[in-house]
Amino acid sequence: MTTPPHEGAPAAAPAPAALAVRHVTHEFGTRKALDDVSLTVPAGSFTALLGPNGAGKTTLFSLVTRLYDNRSGAIDVLGRDVRREPAAALSALGVVFQARTLDLELSVLENLLYHAALHGIGFAAGRRRALELLDVDGLADRARDKVRNLSGGQMRRVEIVRALIHRPRLLLLDEPTVGLDIASRAALVALVRRLVAQESLGVLWATHIIEEIAPGDRVVVLHRGRVRADGTYEDILAQADAVELGAAFLKLVGNSGDTAAEAAA
């Protein structure tokens, strides 16, 4: 009788989630920005963090990227606690902030090399990786242009390239399509979805635009600092007993004026 190679051996530990947020509460003075938030982004998945402005999305991103420390709960990036092992956690994540963060006075390549250096990647290796990613992104011919001369959509694409230069396993994007026209928005969403597939990235995509979420995506609905729903696109529809996500969102967060306006956007 032949024994299967793994029989009798202890079961391998499950791969850690790209991002695991557990019971995080955060306050600014007396204002509670996040209230007992828990969510998971599995490795190699596209997870949308759906919520109107002021829902707490940016606060959550600031805690995950350790712009400030979470005072309660825990945040793990690939199993590494952001507070206890910040170097390991930050090495594994790439981020595109809501505000544009490129240096307008430098060229595209210079911006990318600077970011590579901040992750300990030397100029030669950084240049190779930057050109490879710019090629995938279709911006290779703009590498030596000053960022100031790019369109809004191109700047966003450069920021995505920059976030990937150190080969992270988790990509955070905080409302990356704000201010972009419909075509640029669609191109950006398509680029990130392609990268999820190609590089097996876990992606947390914060947005308040329903059209950016597709069937099959994981969706976390955040409203006034609390998670109102968490599941697949289809789970959310079932939970709200709705046929399309906009209606489900409004049911889940209550049809308040500001919320309705955001959802309609």
Binding site: L78, A117, H119
Partner: protein, 279 residues
Amino acid sequence: MSVPGRFRLPLSGYLVVLVGICWREGLRFLNQRGRFLSALVRPLVWLFIFAAGFRSVLGVSIIPPYDTYVLYEVYVTPGLVAMIQLFNGLQSSLSMVYDREVGAMRILLVSPYPRWFLLVSKLTAGICVSLLQVYAFLAVAWFWEVELPPIGYFTVLPALMLTGLMLGAMGLLMSSLFRQMENFASVMNFVIFPMFFASSALYPLWRVQESSLALWWICTLNPFTYAVEVIRFALYGQFEPFSALVVAGCALVFLGASILAYDPSAGVMARRGGPENAK
């Protein structure tokens, strides 16, 4: 869930980060030619106009490190060198406030390398830029008959690094306290000019003491005075231990406070009232 195995950043990575930050600061400096020009013109105006005009009015007796009577231009040169560093330190901090305003600061702060190291690297980059400005000024001053002992051009280098660290750290600390460039720019005027005038940059302290004891006390408590003296002695190949100690002590205090101010759990960033204010 915890993953076994301790994560360590490679030591070589620290050097890459330092070089990368200095490189970016250098590029920004080269892109801002007006900044270099104004950094050079400002002390030269003081040297060519102010010092030349006061040459006959202000006499400087023999005081260390000078072993003979010196022209007033020669006396003010170390103070003007320190002024370049003072302006540069605050200019670098202004760029940090700008970075925070436009969001670029976030990119620096999400680097996996320790935050204290990133801030020290930023300071180092600022010091490197100030060294270029100082040596360009000394070269022009040489043609204006401010000829220092040749050894002084070398011995002043470590002194400049120390004083640059103190003044840069002071600017860094100030930058953590201001949210907007406009606020910071206006405060700079209230810092630079009082620090410069209430010091030994333009007149020796014994002269100040003769005219006003209160002003002498202010000058004595001003860390910029000690920066000027460290530079003055170093330009003549000498070491002034007390001033060096004061400058080193102030540098450590300012740097420690800056690191605390930028700490994600304890600093002002954590208390700003929302992420939009902590760019």
